[in-house]
Each structure stands twice: as C-alpha cells, then as structure tokens.
Symmetry: C2
Subunit: 341 residues, 2 copies
DNA sequence: CTGAAAGCGCTTACAG
DNA sequence: CTGAAAGCGCTTACAG
C-alpha cells in the first residue's frame, strides 16, 4: 500500500525532545510519573502532529489488542441483533471495538471464527449463540478456548455447559416450563411444538422445559406432536403447516423462539385461521417485535440487551474466579393465547 | 499477557530446514516458484506444528489487515441488521472479518469510529448509514476518508453525496415519489408525514420525494402535515400521536421508514383505529418484518441484503475508477393502504 | 525518572 | 530460486 508518511511515536518524541521510551510512557501510561510538564509537552506534540498510534504495532508488542470478538448465529435475527446491541454499548464505553461474526449455526464456522479471533488477540471472545452438541466439535472448541484463555484472553459464553470462561446462563428450560404451566392452567391439553435443530443446546433445554412443564400436570408429548425446523420465520411457517395439517391439530402451538412463532402466526393468518380463537401460539425470547405482532405474542421475555451488556461486562473481568450470571425470563402473557374453545 | 509459547514462522522455517524468508514466501505467496517439493515441505511443517500466523505482525509489515470496517446506525434496527448480513456473507467468502460499529446517528461517533477503523488499517470502510448534513462534520469525514483511501484503504458509502470512494446509491427520493403517486392514485389527498431528523441525508431525500410526488399531482404539504421524530418504533408512535390528534387528521400516514411505520401502526391499534379503513399507512425500506405486520405494510422495498453484498463487493475493487451502483426500490402494495372512505 | 536497546512476528527489497 | 538483513511501529525490561 502506498500512502503519505504517517506520524509515528518517534516523530512525537523528537518533536517533544524526549526519547521514544519516554514518549511511549507519557502517552500510554497515565500512572507513570515524570518531571513536571513533561507529560503535557509530549501530549502537546502528539496533538500538534496529529499522532495516531498504530494498534497493530501495539498489539504485536503487547500481545493483546483493543478489540472484542463476538460470535453469534445470525445478525439478521432480532434475538442476536438486540443482544449484540448490548455488547456494543458496553464495549464502546470501554473504548473497545467489536468484531462480529456469524456462525449461521454451523459448528465448523463457529470453530474457525473462534480461532481467527484468537489469532487476532482480541481481548475477549463472546460466544453468544447456543453451543452445538457434537462431541468432536465441542472438544475442539474447548481446546481452542482453553488455549486462548491461557494466553490471556477472556472467554464468555451465553450458553450453559461450557467449562471454560464466564457464563451468562439463560434459564431456557425453567422459562419454558413456566410458560407451559400457564398454558395448561389456561385449559390447554393439546400441544404442538415447533422445535429447532436438536444439536443446539438451547433447543434441547427449551424442549426439556416443555416436557417437564407438561409432566408437572401429568401430560406428555406424543412423538408426532413435535416437529423440527430451521430456527427462522420460514421454519415457523413450515412447522405450523406440518402440525396443523394433521388429522387432529393441536390447540396450542409452542414455538421454540419468537421468530419461529412469527412464522407460525403468518402461516395461520394465510390459512384464515384466527389466533387465539382457533389456536393459541407462544414464542420464546422476547424480541422487541413480539409486542407489535398481531395478535401480540405471548412469550418468555429475556432481557436480551442486558444479556449482551452482562456478557461484555464479564468479558472485562479476570478469568478467575469464573462468574456465572443466571438470567431468568419472565412470562409475558399477551393476546396470542386464550383458553381453548 | 502470559501464555504458552506460540509457534512462529521461525519455528516452521527451522522445522522445514529453510530460511524465514522462504517459509514466508511458501506460506503466503501462492505464485512464488520454488524447487520441487519445497512448498509441500513447508506446508507440512506448518501443519504439523500447528502454525497460525500472527495477523498483527503481518498487518504491521504490510500496512494492511484482513478486516473490514462497517459503520451502521444501529444493529438493532432490522434495516441495518439485514444489510449487515449481506456484508458479512460476502466478507466471509473472501476470508475477511468485519468489525462492526454503531454510530447511533451521531456525527461525532461516526467520525471517531471511522478514524479508529482507519488506524486499524482495515482493508475497507463501509459507511452504511446515511451521511449527516453538517458541514464541519462532513469536512472532517471527507478529510479522513481521503487520507484513508490515499493510504490504500477502500471506501464505500451506502449514501449518495460522498465525493470519495465507491457508492451504493439508494434512490430514496424516486422511491418515495413512486409511493406517493400510488397513494394519490388511490384517491388520497390528505397526508401526514412522520419524518426523521433532517440532518440525515436519507430523510431529506425521502421528504423531497414525497414533496415531488405530491407536486406532480398538484398537491402540497402544509407545514403542520409533517412531524420530525426519532427514527425508531417509538418515534413512529409519537409521530402518529402528533398527527392524528390534530383537528383534521390525515387519511394517509407516510412514515419515513418501516420501523417508524410499525410504531405508527402500534399507536393506531392502541387507539382502536383501523388500518387501512380509518387511515392508510406506508413505510420505506422493505425490512423482512414488513410482510408479517398486521395489516401487512405497504412499502418501498429495497434489496437490503443485496445492498450489503454490493457494498462489500465494491469494497474489494480498486479505488479507481469509482463505482456508483444505483439501487432502486420497488413499490410493494400490501394491506395497510386503501382508498380513503 | 529517563534512555538505549532488544524484542514482538511478520514481509520484502537487496544480494547472491 | 534462496537467504541475511532491514524494517514495520510500538512496549518494556534493563541500566544508569
């Protein structure tokens, strides 16, 4: 690359009449003493020359950068977009840049990006998507994270089950269980579940919550009462179709996430079915749009933005002791549910 | 930072029995010749030792990195989330990481982040939010971008009016004009506009499109027919309130963006007003959720994801010649509009 | 407190 | 084609 010569620390030092070392100290170590007026002089020179430190040189010398790595499933998903907003807010407060990558729920992408971020010496890696249940992959991820943490990096997972780094543990199963209780108490006994891929831990946990919630009331889920789809609006569309076209369609549709529930609502609307009169629908997550859905969506609301903030705050803490922040969702009952007719 | 010793290029070179220089060439220059089997040997050593190049050392030596900087207004806004998805998709294809920052429509943030990204020697800076109309700020941004480009960086703006770098030019005014024509042809004559802050060029352009569209039919907008709000769902809520509480409320609400329109729909619903029977509502942008709104939202649909892909593709092109990609929206008429009663 | 020097891990003219 | 050496722009023991 060609370019006009940039001003280096060396230039600042000369301009201020001090050594490179002193200039470096005055500029980047606020604690450092120094004879009266020295610091001011160096700062003035830096300002006058328009000095802007080269972060790569610094990262090379210090073996750490001023960036944060954020791994999510998909930015286009409001769940992750909202969470990312929280991460970015706190990162900004600490003058940290965030490099965001999307795994699209693909294990190998997740691993590759994690390595890439580790190589970049980001200060912290925040894994904000549910971890994947694949023992080979899990082992590789674990090894990578351990070595990354060992080299001074900070690891934060927004998923339980990781044995390294800090954790923001979202109570997926408990939230779903509470939701199911409420539906049963509303009078529902016939459920259909639109689930996501079983390799995702969050999916498993939410399903477990559903099963437990039903079991608490002596109910069970039949094999056919659950369908597995992509965790997207289109997945929800397909899932609703599969469940509702059965001979005896369920009276309450439990979607694995809000976005999936939106797809279901859309399918039902297209079929001319009325929610909640014909069928009740629930989501999970509490993305902002849930409140504006028509009918407004009953869901387990997670403080998504705050989860992102928590994650970023944990990223700033030393690796030891490990912190586990538990986040519980709150059931928000809205218009998408009613007692079965 | 403490950490186990990582393997360096030097180690690979020794293991393969070649010099540092040769190892470097074999590993990072596929074009480079070399005696038969040499490359294989070096690659084998690198693989065996688990060599992972230090990107900062490389960036320092080459004065360029393998990252892309993306500046948007807000990740939580589906408009930008969708667009970002496109950027990330193409970036991944080229093995590039994207560092994403949110300006929250704040000029000084935009400038600071741009500088920061330039300092990081990102390969390209993609400015995906509408530029701000403030001559001092514009001058500073321009100077920064020129110097960045001069030093080898690639600049792409998803907004017109920038005189440096490539541009993805979204036809904001033309799109709005078409939309207004359609509304007038539907029989509307009484409009209310929920606009965003005038310092945003995109807002000005869309407003201009509205005015032009009306003028084409001999109509004009009164001073009170337009309100200025935050470009968010809550802004839309407030805007609808302001306009609809007037003595003679408009029969058609033109929102400056889809998200703002969602807010308006929400307010109207809360008031017990029916869309489109009582009032028609339109948006702009074509975010995915527009189709699932109830009533589904009439809007000018932009290929947002593709805009992001285009931007990233332009980022890969040499600075000269400049490319201007023009993107037109398409009017999508849905259920949120009807002839006035 | 301050400075000269080594070192971070690469790339790339420059000689051979 | 290959290697020794300089250089990228910082930080930080190590002496003074």
């Amino acid at each position: 690359m060609v370019g006009q010569p940039l001003v280096r620390l060396q230039d600042v030092a000369e301009h201020a009449g001090v050594s490179l070392a002193t200039a470096s100290r005055m500029l980047s170590d606020p604690e450092y003493g120094g004879r009266a007026g020295l610091r001011e002089r160096v700062l003035a020179s830096a300002a006058e020359l328009g000095y802007r430190p080269n972060p790569h040189a610094r990262a090379l010398a210090m073996a750490t950068s001023t960036n944060i790595g954020l791994v999510i499933h998909d930015v286009r998903d409001p769940y992750f977009a909202t969470l990312s907003g929280g991460v970015i807010t706190v990162a900004e407060r600490h003058d940290l840049l965030v490099s965001m990558v999307c795994s699209y729920r693909d294990a190998s992408r997740e691993l590759e990006y994690t390595k890439r971020l580790a190589d970049q010496r980001v200060r912290a890696i925040i894994l904000a998507g549910s971890s994947v249940r694949d023992s080979a992959h899990a082992a590789a991820m674990h090894a990578e994270l351990v070595s990354y943490q060992h080299s001074g990096g900070s690891v934060v997972s927004v998923t339980r089950g990781r044995t390294v780094g800090h954790v923001v543990d979202i109570d997926n199963s408990g939230g779903m269980r509470t939701l199911v209780h409420a539906m049963v108490e509303l009078g529902h006994t016939s459920f259909g579940v639109i689930a996501g891929p079983l390799r995702l831990l969050a999916v498993r946990d939410r399903l477990q919550g559903i099963r437990q919630g039903l079991k608490d009331h002596g109910l069970t889920l039949g094999r056919d009462d659950i369908v597995y789809v992509d965790m997207s609006r289109d997945g929800g569309l397909a899932g609703a179709h599969l469940l509702m076209k059965r001979p005896k369609p369920p009276r309450c549709l439990l979607a694995i996430s809000d976005v999936v529930a939106f797809g279901a609502l859309s399918w039902l609307r297209a079929q001319g079915m009325t929610v909640p009169d014909d069928v009740s629908v629930t989501g999970f997550g509490g993305i902002p749009a849930a409140i504006d859905a028509v009918p407004s969506l009953t869901t387990v609301e997670l403080p998504l933005e705050q989860v992102g903030e928590n994650a970023m705050e944990l990223a700033l803490k030393p690796a030891s002791p490990r912190h586990i922040v538990e986040v519980k969702g709150t059931l928000v009952r809205r218009d998408s549910v009613a007692p079965p007719r």
